[in-house]
Symmetry: C2
Subunit: 188 residues, 2 copies
DNA sequence: GTCTATAGTAGGATAGAC
DNA sequence: GTCTATCCTACTATAGAC
């Protein structure tokens, strides 16, 4: 198989396993087995575990940029776009209940490990933060746009942690409703 | 040294290391070195790493119960008590920026590991949840007390994750102010 | 580009002397 | 109750054949 195809399959599988079981708890053998490669062959594609993490982060950054661009080019109003973000906790509800937020849990784990790539993981948060800020600017709240963006992120991370802890779907819906009400006070 | 003293020192040190570096990333050797014990002697006190985690969780549950009881017996109003909880993210701000919320990060990690003690870790959340619910009942909101308690927990977990990711003290203060305003609408 | 074989290390856990 | 010595396993990583 071509090198690039195998490489992208490794990244895809590693991304999923890092999310489901954590970075530290995912071994080379786990990834190799899931891809269907021998451990030895692995190092032809990636020379270290950190190199895989780096590639996974790059892949996630690209995917996030694409998603945000899609939302941007839709005909939704800024408020609707923000709600699209808010509703991720419902859209991806099952995954989040089981494994938490992909961005939040990875960033938290890398912070504990004092990992050099913590900064790159945080970049994912920054992408959403900047995008949300832009929406609040469009809503006419330029002065406090960043603060409001951070408040929306706070919501999403809080809900992710607690829905993961309690596995309670109804709780998530209630918090989303609460967020919708809150957002409506900033919409005209 | 007496067995019980050594044991409690192990629990104390393990608690701190699990918080700072995560459960998986903390080895027996790390704990032994920090306590000043040989690895071998370790197994006289705890027969497995899970046994230490279990003892750490028990210790945290006890400490949490004590804290909540203290807050309960103070002369604060229910609203002031809730604000005491809210302000933990400021009171313990430095630790949370560096290592996140002790309860949230441990629960998240144990969920990823599919660890049997995940339920015991969640119990810590439940202690706060129940206590907060009681305060909202006292405020005259029995009908939605649990929902409001979960909303306060959502706040604290969201702030913990993002303050850990961005290390931004001012952001935390703004979110606490926002929470104070929100709470005032439930106070008479 | 993929494999097997293997080196080297760290971590969890045990045995037995003191 | 504490130590040293040791076993076993899992993991990261490399070497070299095909």
């Amino acid at each position: 198989m071509s090198s690039t195809v195998t490489r992208s399959r490794i990244v895809e599988v590693a991304d999923r396993l890092f999310y489901q079981h954590g970075y530290l708890h995912t071994s080379f053998a786990d990834i190799a087995a899931a891809v269907g490669l021998s451990r030895g062959n692995f190092y032809y594609h990636f020379k270290s575990k950190d190199a895989i993490l780096d590639a996974v982060l790059e892949s996630r950054v690209d995917a996030t940029r694409r998603t945000l661009r899609d939302w941007e080019t839709s005909n939704d109003s800024p408020a609707d776009r923000i709600m699209r973000f808010v509703e991720i906790v419902v859209t991806n509800g099952a995954d989040i209940r089981r494994h938490g937020c992909p961005v939040g849990t990875l960033t938290t784990e890398l912070a504990k490990l004092d990992h050099a790539l913590h900064d790159r993981a945080r970049e994912l948060f920054t992408l959403f933060r900047t995008w949300l800020r832009d929406q609040f600017v469009l809503l006419g709240h330029a002065g406090q746009a960043d603060e409001l963006a951070m408040h929306v992120l706070t919501f999403s991370q809080g809900v992710a942690v607690l829905s993961n802890a309690f596995r309670d779907e109804a709780y998530v819906s209630r918090e989303v409703d609460r967020m919708r009400d809150w957002l409506s006070t900033y919409t005209r």
